[in-house]
């Protein structure tokens, strides 16, 4: 019975059917989502870049911070959807600034109390915006708390220690580092990378989560900065 039914033709066609379905599943479950995600990240990066022109006049920070944040998160063994959440939060962390008057953002003289309150509100505004997107609702928390400090002195909710979501703790380190080494209207002399790293190390346990700082220094120690530099040149 068996040898008669499974003649070479039938076997070949059956195998073809099975491999077609396998290929189809691979394309739809692995290749397609990856391709779409790349397009999506590019779009959000462009959006973030448009907000950046208003904030600092220079673009590329969001992208750079996102790369750095993902690298740190990977060292801390974060994977899958959680890693994606952190990446989106890193890209969108300052989107709240799109609705804050530029006069306040670009001010070079010291801010008044009320102006400072307005600047601080960008975390909450940004989180509200991100929360409105069904696909990103779970990312909003990371955006909201990316200016919290380990010792509870940050804003907007004065969270401390482990109360701060891990994604926000990573984002706090990487975005501060990027701010230190780059030029801003209110911050004309950027620090040298090694000075900024010293600063971050000194803040471990005070401003930053010590574990995150450790992972962060490991990433920079592995020549990440060099890789970024090369990428920028290319």
């Amino acid at each position: 019975m068996l040898p008669e039914v499974f003649n070479p033709g039938v076997t070949a066609v059956s195998i073809a059917a099975l491999s077609m379905s396998g290929l189809g599943m691979y394309v739809s479950r692995v290749m397609l989502p990856a391709k779409m995600k790349r397009a999506y990240v590019k779009s959000i990066t462009a959006l973030a870049a448009a907000v950046e022109t208003k904030d600092s006049g220079t673009v590329g920070h969001a992208k750079r911070i996102a790369e750095l944040t993902v690298a740190v998160a990977q060292i801390m063994e974060i994977k899958g959807r959680e890693l994606e959440r952190i990446e989106y939060a890193a890209l969108l962390r300052d989107i709240g600034k799109s609705v804050i008057p530029q006069a306040v953002l670009a001010k070079t003289s010291p801010l008044t109390r009320s102006e400072w309150e307005v600047v601080k509100s960008h975390t909450v505004l940004g989180a509200n915006m991100v929360a409105a997107v069904p696909f990103l609702t779970d990312t909003a928390d990371y955006v909201r708390h990316h200016h919290e400090c380990w010792d509870g002195s940050g804003y907007p909710d004065n969270l401390r220690g482990e109360q701060i979501p891990l994604g926000s703790r990573i984002l706090a380190v990487t975005s501060d580092y990027d701010a230190m080494i780059s030029q801003r209207p209110y911050h004309m002399h950027p620090m040298a990378p090694h000075r900024a790293m010293e600063e971050i190390r000194a803040g471990a346990g005070i401003k930053y989560d010590p574990d995150v700082v450790e992972a962060f220094l490991k990433v920079l120690g592995e020549g990440f900065e060099l890789a970024l530099e090369l990428a920028r040149v290319a």
Partner: protein, 511 residues
């Protein structure tokens, strides 16, 4: 509810008569000796199940993946025309009946409780009833028999005819065993069979589309046919790869059925499931990502009082215009999103510049002029379907080539960009918001549309300009559109828009 035109109804009944005739002829010509009951029932059951799985790919079910077609094709070349006709008639009528039951019970459930959420059985019922509802199209008025018979009869026509073609070009019915020359006795005739079936389907739906005319079209019947031709090319062309895949799968099914029996259905349904999964996955991801950008853009403007509501109105107007101009389904689907996003590039421009009522400095001008390009850049990575980025990029480009962004050479401005331009300007002129900015040439007094502030006056070439507030009336806006037709705006879009105003399909804040 819409009343179907008489020509359309006559067409439907003609199909029923033709299907009956074809059934009778095949029954007389291909005499059935002993009926292979087991095979007929297997194909019938598989076809019935597949009918239940039919589902639209988009919200409005305009594109459908029908896993039942390859089963019927295979049946036609395995059991021969008369039985193929009989089994596809039975399975599609049975599917219709199940759908009807689902439809009626869903009506009851919907009115009695909070809906079917949670209960998988009820969700399944709801899906079937949706499928049925779509096939019978309850929004079109007509006799119920005409509708219940419509789908099975068009199926009978295409499958019956395809099966006869298969026999005519030398195909052997596989129930008697595989022919010795497999290429000329099975594979090539089978391709002819599938091609006939597909062509029959397309012709039937095109004819229905031509005859079912909601609004009179320019150019009479011929104009309508040309339009349908374009519509078919647009919906069918992207489906060609999946059609070829279906033919291939069906071929495998027919080949495997004789030695393997019912297992052939299991083996060949796997590629179909994969194909379906691919389409769902693609559409789900696309909409998730597009939603993100749209929601973010809407959020941002929520905080900018001066544009509140503007984007939404532009989106609505643009969609109405696209429908009016009978653009493709995809354009209609995406133009309202483009309307929402057309100014997204402005998020990088500070409010001081946007709100400025005095003369803009040249560098401030450069910033404003960048916004279409920036917006296009943001959306460009996500345009899976249409060139939405170009619709946004050219929404400040004039019909005659002036405006911004700068371009060299002959530029084909997408009609969608012209639609957004008209909708944008009309809403800006008739909106009673506080800050209505107007650009006026100091030298000659030339006033282009609101929102258009060229560095140089297009009429006299002067570099001076001033902006001030102008409250406008509806009539003023209409005059302005008329004046700009052919220079600033696409004439066809303007005339469609004025027509819409005449029919009072447009509402605005001002009288």
């Amino acid at each position: 509810m819409q009343t179907a035109p008489i020509a359309y109804r006559v067409f439907r009944w003609t199909l029923v008569v033709l299907a009956g005739l074809l059934t009778w002829i095949t029954w007389m010509v291909f005499r059935v000796g002993t009926i292979p009951f087991a095979s007929t029932i297997w194909f019938f059951a598989a076809g019935f199940l597949a009918e239940l799985f039919t589902k639209g790919l988009d919200d409005e079910n305009r594109i459908q993946i029908t896993p039942s077609a390859p089963i019927y094709w295979a049946a036609a070349c395995v059991v021969g025309p008369p039985l193929a006709i009989a089994l596809c008639l039975m399975s599609s009528i049975l599917a219709d009946l199940v759908g009807l039951v689902g439809f009626i019970s869903m009506r009851r459930i919907d009115t009695n409780s909070n809906g079917p959420a949670g209960n998988p059985m009820l969700r399944w019922l709801k899906r079937i009833s949706k499928c049925w509802e779509r096939r019978l199209n309850p929004s079109i008025e007509g006799c119920i028999w005409e509708k219940v018979l419509g789908c099975p009869c068009s199926l009978v026509l295409s499958i019956g005819l395809a099966s006869i073609v298969y026999h005519a070009v030398g195909g052997r019915f596989l129930i008697a065993g595989l022919p010795e020359d497999i290429l000329s006795g099975f594979i090539l005739p089978f391709i002819a069979l599938a091609a006939t079936a597909v062509i029959m389907d397309v012709v039937q739906s095109a004819a229905a589309f031509v005859l079912y005319e909601k609004h009179p079209t320019a150019g009479g019947l011929w104009g309508r046919i040309k339009q349908v031709n374009a519509a078919i090319l647009e919906t069918e062309l992207p489906l060609i790869p999946s059609q070829i895949l279906l033919v291939f799968v069906s071929l495998m099914l027919a080949y495997l059925y004789v030695p393997l029996g019912a297992w052939a259905f299991v083996l060949t349904s796997l590629p179909l499931i994969a194909l379906r999964d691919y389409y769902y996955q693609k559409i789900a991801e696309q909409s998730a990502y597009l939603d993100t950008i749209t929601t973010l853009a809407t959020c941002m403007q929520h905080y900018h009082p001066y544009t509140r509501g503007h984007l939404k109105r532009v989106a609505n107007l643009a969609e109405k215009l696209a429908r009016k101009l009978r653009l493709s389904n995809e354009s209609i689907n995406y133009i309202s999103m483009a309307g929402l996003l057309h100014d997204i590039g402005k998020i990088g421009v500070s409010e001081e510049i946007l709100n400025k009522t005095s003369t803009l400095e040249p560098d401030e001008w450069e910033l404003i002029k960048e916004h279409p390009d920036k917006g296009a850049e943001i959306i460009s990575h996500l345009n899976f379907v249409e060139d939405i980025a170009d619709w946004i990029r050219y929404h400040h480009k004039w019909h005659d080539g002036r405006g911004y962004p700068e371009s060299n050479g002959d530029l084909e401005i997408p009609i969608e960009a012209s639609i957004i331009a008209v909708a944008d300007c009309f809403d800006a002129m008739t909106d009673d918001r506080e800050l209505s900015l107007e650009w006026v040439c100091d030298s000659c007094g030339y006033t282009p549309m609101n929102g258009y502030r060229p560095t140089q006056c297009p009429m006299c070439g002067a570099n001076k300009r001033r902006t001030y507030r102008v409250p406008r009336t509806l009539q003023g806006a209409i005059d302005e559109l008329r004046r700009g037709s052919g220079t600033q705006f696409h004439p066809a879009v303007v005339s469609a828009f004025l027509d819409m105003i005449e029919r009072e399909e447009v509402h605005s804040d001002v009288a």
